[in-house]
Every structure is written in C-alpha cells, then in structure tokens.
Amino acid sequence: MDAITAVALSLDNPVLKAAGSLIANEFFYAALILALVFLGEPRNGKRLKILATLAMVLVLGVAIKQAMAQPRPCAGEIWCPADYSFPSTHALVAFTLMIAFLGGKNYAFYLLFALLVSFSRLNTGVHGFIDVAAALPIAVLGYYAADLAWNAAKMGMQQRPGAGGRKGGGAT
C-alpha cells in the first residue's frame, strides 16, 4: 500500500467516515452531483453540456474498469463493492465537474469537493491512491473529447439547411 493511501486510511474521524458513507451511496452521490451542476451553472446550454460530459466520462470510466479488471484493496471484505477498482469513478465524476467549472468564481469549491470525494474513497478503503490519481487525467481527456464533440455538433447544427444558423455565426 502506498503512503498516501495508508495515511488516508489511518484517519479515523466519525464525520469523515459518515461523509464517506454518504458519498459511497450511488443515489445520494448522483443527486448531489445534479444539485451541484444546477446550483453552480445558471445557463441551461452549459448545464446540458456538463451533464452530457459527465455521462460520457462515466461510461469511459466503467469501460476502463472492466478492461483493467483490477481488484479493490478491500476485496474479500463483506462490505466491499463488487466491481473493480481502477479508476475511481466517484473521483472521475468529481474531477470532471471540477474541470467544467474552470474559469468560474466557484472553482475553489468544486476543487475542494473533488479532493474531499477522492479522500473519502481512500478513507473508506475502497480505493488506492493510484485509482484516484488516474481519475484526474481521464477527466481532462474526457472533458477535452466532450468539448471537441460538443463544438462539432454545434457547428453541424448551425450548418444544417433550415437550422436557422449561419456558417461561422456567433453563438446565441
């Protein structure tokens, strides 16, 4: 076990453990992410883009998990999730959300949220540090790919006959 994972795992704070248990609950976590998107971004177009990106990176993350097939550090324990470990999809979603808010005044909040989620995955013993660290470049890659796809789709819609857009026209 690496040093960062060992330190995170050794912290036995009831508040952190409770937060970790809540984040581990997929339904609660999905609702929290939705709330953070809708509270942090007032524009519907950008909200849609963030949600589409989150869905895309989640699919990518699950596909990588299946391909890499690495067992969790807690494998064998009754409370341990049944799926694979690498990468942490919780951290992946949190880092993607963080990147989506780059350039905004609330960025520091989303950065701290992503770090808290990452820490909670280590603290609850369901991931190692490498799983969490891998989520960061995948989030950058996923957001970059989604941005390219989003811009291409937007240009395609503007160029479609009868779409009311103009080639190279400004965004609405």
Partner: protein, 191 residues
C-alpha cells in the same frame, strides 16, 4: 500586434526545450524516487496548477504563471497554461495506467524527447503531411527517430511504439500532449 516570425520560432524552440526538460525531470523523479512518489507529486502539482490557471482565467495576476505563459505557452492556446496542463495530465496518465517503470520511462522519452524534437525540426520542414496541413513529413520522421531513444528502456519494442506514437502525434484536431500518452498506454496494455 503580431509576433515576428523569428521571435515566434525562438519562443517555440524555448517552449520545446522546456517541454523536453520537463520530460527529463519526470523521468529522473521516476527513476530516483519511484512511481508512487512521482504520481503523488504530479497529482498535487496539477491540482495546484488548475487553481492558478483559474486565477488567470478570472483575470488575476499571477507573476510566475504569466512569465511561464509568455515563455512557454503557444499564443493560440485555448486557455492560459493549457499546454502545460495537458502535458502534466499526459504524464499522470502514463504513471497511473502503466505499472512497469521501463514502460513508463520509454513513454516519457517518446512524449518528452520525440514531441520536442519533432516540433523544432517540423517547423523548418517543407513537405506537408497530406492529412494534416499543420505538420510536416520531416517533423514526423524526427519524431519517429527521437522516439527510438525508448530502446534503452524497452529494447526492440521501441520500434512499434515509436511508429504508433508517430501516427498519434501527426493526427489533426488532437492535442499532442494527450494523444501521445494515450497511444503509449494503448500500445503497452493492448499490443
């Protein structure tokens, strides 16, 4: 105000020397302190870097970052610090996906050395690639040859690795600093 071509070339060369130096630094950290330490350090550097990047996007002055931007970032970068952020993310991708230190080191040679030399040579090249008007055959050849330095770490596997990475680097629309690490990871994990 436009930048003089000679000055633009000088900045691009400086940018690529810095690029190669970062690759050497990452390689040295990996060989001296191991994968886990290097991964941890880079992870927190990226987190801190995005925080500074956000400050710049909000219009705040961060002198060190502005100096780095002026010296080493392309004038047409979509965000301040974009190239450096992608490079760091690419290296982190290699460190987390690959477990063998020799494979990581070989990929760092390709990313650090190959990309830097190909940009310097490619900028002076004359034969444009048919599928990417921004890149030249000379640049692609220089990338392939420089990437063969990976032989030191992985032996003959450096030849197909260099070939796969050369194709990834030459593709249009893709950010080199992300495309090359993805190609290296796919090469070592799948092929």
């Amino acid at each position: 105000m436009s930048i003089k071509p000679s000055l633009k070339m000088e900045r691009e060369t400086a940018r690529q020397v810095f690029h190669a130096a970062l690759g050497v630094a990452a390689l040295a950290l990996l060989l001296l302190f191991g994968r886990e330490f290097t991964t941890g350090l880079l992870f927190f550097i990226i987190i801190g870097g995005t925080f500074l990047m956000n400050k710049r996007l909000l219009g705040e002055k961060v002198p060190v970052v502005q100096w780095l931007e002026w010296q080493f970032e392309r004038p047409d970068a979509p965000l301040p610090g974009w190239g450096s952020a992608c490079y760091a993310a690419g290296v982190l991708l290699l460190l987390t996906f690959l477990t063998d230190a020799n494979e990581i080191a070989a990929s760092l040679v390709v990313l650090g050395l190959g990309d830097a030399i190909s940009t310097i040579v490619g900028a002076r090249g004359r034969i444009v690639l048919p599928y990417n008007r921004k890149k030249t055959v000379e640049g692609a050849a220089a990338f392939f040859l420089a990437s063969l330095g990976a032989w030191y770490f992985v032996g003959p596997a450096a030849i197909p690795l260099a070939a796969v990475a050369t194709v990834a680097e030459s593709l249009p629309w893709l950010e080199d600093n992300l495309a090359i690490p993805v190609a290296c990871v796919v090469f070592f994990l799948v092929l």
